[in-house]
């Protein structure tokens, strides 16, 4: 099986300026080999500093690997691919754009005509329950609502893969839970591939078909865990606990990421 997203020996070393006595070279990732099939929901799990976000940014075409290659939709990556869309933790809303204009942005960037843009944006706004907020500005929205707008923008181009960089990391537990469920229902309908970065075992367990566990310094792939539990999953069950224990062990002994 060839993956929709494929990383072959991917590494990333940052050549920083050697300020304040540091050498400046930081190896963020080393020798990452991974595949992600079409329609699969894959979580990249690891503590902060393990390079999981860097890997996602590289798959999004926003950073270049310093070793190896990344293939998306059968093509070696050279900048952002039209088949993927990325959602950021700090949502990246434009403060001067209404929700509608923002959700249309990716289409505008592709030169889609105004009317077609509007129609597609309306569809996406309905799907993400944002229709009634279409005329609002970001400062008039709650944190959860803003991230929903970020997801809507990413969805308008109907990407084959959605890349999500700790999208719910800054939200309170309740809002996060809501958005996780909503993401799963959107995924169930759209059947896009999702690559989702998180540091939370519970979040990864709740969402993913497969969890790739990263360990830091340098970031490496430590485990590839398939989660065969039926959805919706709840943390109470013994099967859930067993997989979670496995992940905890794979993450290593330096404390536990909840």
């Amino acid at each position: 099986m060839s993956g929709f997203i494929e990383c072959i020996g991917v590494g990333k070393t940052f050549e920083g300026k050697g300020g304040e006595g540091k050498t400046g070279r930081v190896e963020a990732l080393r020798g990452i080999n991974m595949r992600c099939a079409e329609g699969e929901f894959v979580c990249l799990l690891g503590r902060s500093g393990c390079g999981k976000s860097t890997l996602l940014q590289m798959i999004a075409g926003l950073e270049r690997p310093t070793a190896g290659q990344i293939v998306v939709a059968g093509r070696e990556l050279d900048g952002p691919s039209p088949s993927t869309s990325i959602v950021f933790q700090d949502h990246g809303l434009f403060p001067w754009m209404t929700v509608r204009a923002y959700v249309e942005f990716n289409l505008k960037a592709r030169g889609v005509a105004r009317v077609a843009r509007r129609t597609r944006a309306e569809e996406t706004l309905t799907m993400t329950s944002l229709s009634e907020f279409a005329g609002r500005y970001p400062h008039e929205l709650s944190g959860g609502m803003r991230q929903r707008v970020g997801i809507a923008r990413a969805l308008t181009t109907r990407p084959q893969a959605l890349l999500m960089d700790e999208p719910f990391g800054a939200l309170d537990a309740q809002t996060r839970g809501h958005l996780q469920s909503e993401l799963l229902s959107i995924w169930a309908v759209q059947r896009t591939t999702v690559l989702f970065v998180t540091h939370s075992i519970d979040e990864a367990m709740f969402l993913a078909d497969r969890i790739l566990v990263f360990t830091p310094r340098p970031g490496r792939l430590a485990a590839d865990v398939t989660v065969a539990l039926p959805r919706p999953r709840s943390p109470g069950t013994p099967a859930f606990a067993a997989v979670a224990d496995g992940l905890r062990a794979a993450l290593g002994s330096e404390g536990v990421a909840a």
């Binding site: 075409g61 869309s85 990246g92 434009f94 923008r153």
Partner: protein, 255 residues
């Protein structure tokens, strides 16, 4: 306190100053020829109203033209310099060097090159408005959140779209700060330039009033200069509030 009542508080120091002025006149601090009373200055407005407004109009027009030209040059240039590091490296030293030159010190050169009249005045206003607009535009672009540029890059937006839909609006609040400084600077420059290089305008009127010993006209001129300066600043603030309405709630209301 109701909003408008609060605003009127700003008139208090001005009224106080007029009061002190009246006291100084009554105490005969200076002979009336040198220090006319507020009433006499008010009379000057009645006596020379059309002449004062014609000169004020000439000054305002020069500032409008000079600042508009500076805006048309500085904002696009600033957006590009802020966007592209190479351009920033190329221009940074020059900008820092040239902006340290007081525009007034260029008056002799401006007169040599452009003679006496509107042209040297407008050129000087242009120069004094250019730097604050340019620097504030560059600064505004520099303050843009990195994630926003990543959103644009991942959408594969063209440079033109990025400049128009992201860089420009992100820099807009800062551009307005630059505009306020530019109009303020331009206004200072026009009055000075008119005292030397032009035969009309408020600066010329004041200097002429001194030579003909009409001190009340000097005072009237100063009052008009201050009033127009205040009016211009308030207009830019209003414009900014309208153009940056999306900023509501992001910043404090003190402009």
């Amino acid at each position: 306190m109701p909003r408008h009542a609060g605003r009127l508080l700003g008139l208090l120091p001005i009224l106080g100053l007029i009061g002190l002025w009246q006291i100084a006149v009554s105490a005969k601090l200076y002979p009336p020829v040198l220090l006319p009373s507020p009433a006499k200055v008010a009379g000057a407005f009645l006596q020379w109203g059309p002449m004062i407004s014609a000169n004020a109009g000439a000054s305002v027009l020069r500032v409008l033209i000079g600042v508009s030209l500076a805006f048309a040059v500085a904002v696009p240039a600033g957006l590009l310099i802020g966007r592209y590091r190479g351009l920033d490296r190329l221009t940074d030293w020059s900008i820092q060097a040239f902006r340290s030159v007081p525009p007034i010190s260029l008056i002799p050169l401006a007169m040599l090159f452009f003679g006496i009249g509107d042209t040297p005045a407008i050129v000087l206003i242009f120069v004094s408005a250019l730097w604050p607009l340019l620097l504030n535009t560059i600064f505004g672009v520099g303050g843009i959140e990195r994630t926003l540029l990543k959103v644009a890059a991942s959408a594969r937006a063209s440079e033109l779209l990025i400049l128009r839909d992201i860089i420009l609006p992100a820099a807009l609040p800062s551009i307005f700060t630059g505009l306020r400084l530019a109009i303020g600077g331009g206004w200072l420059t026009v009055v000075t330039a008119e005292m030397i290089a032009v035969k009309s305008g408020l600066g010329y009127m004041i200097l002429n009033a001194q030579m003909t010993f009409r001190t009340e006209l000097i005072f009237a001129g100063i009052v008009v200069i201050g009033a127009i300066g205040l009016l211009a600043d308030q207009s830019v603030r209003q414009l900014r509030a309208r153009a940056c309405r999306w900023q509501d709630g992001l910043t404090s209301s003190h402009g």
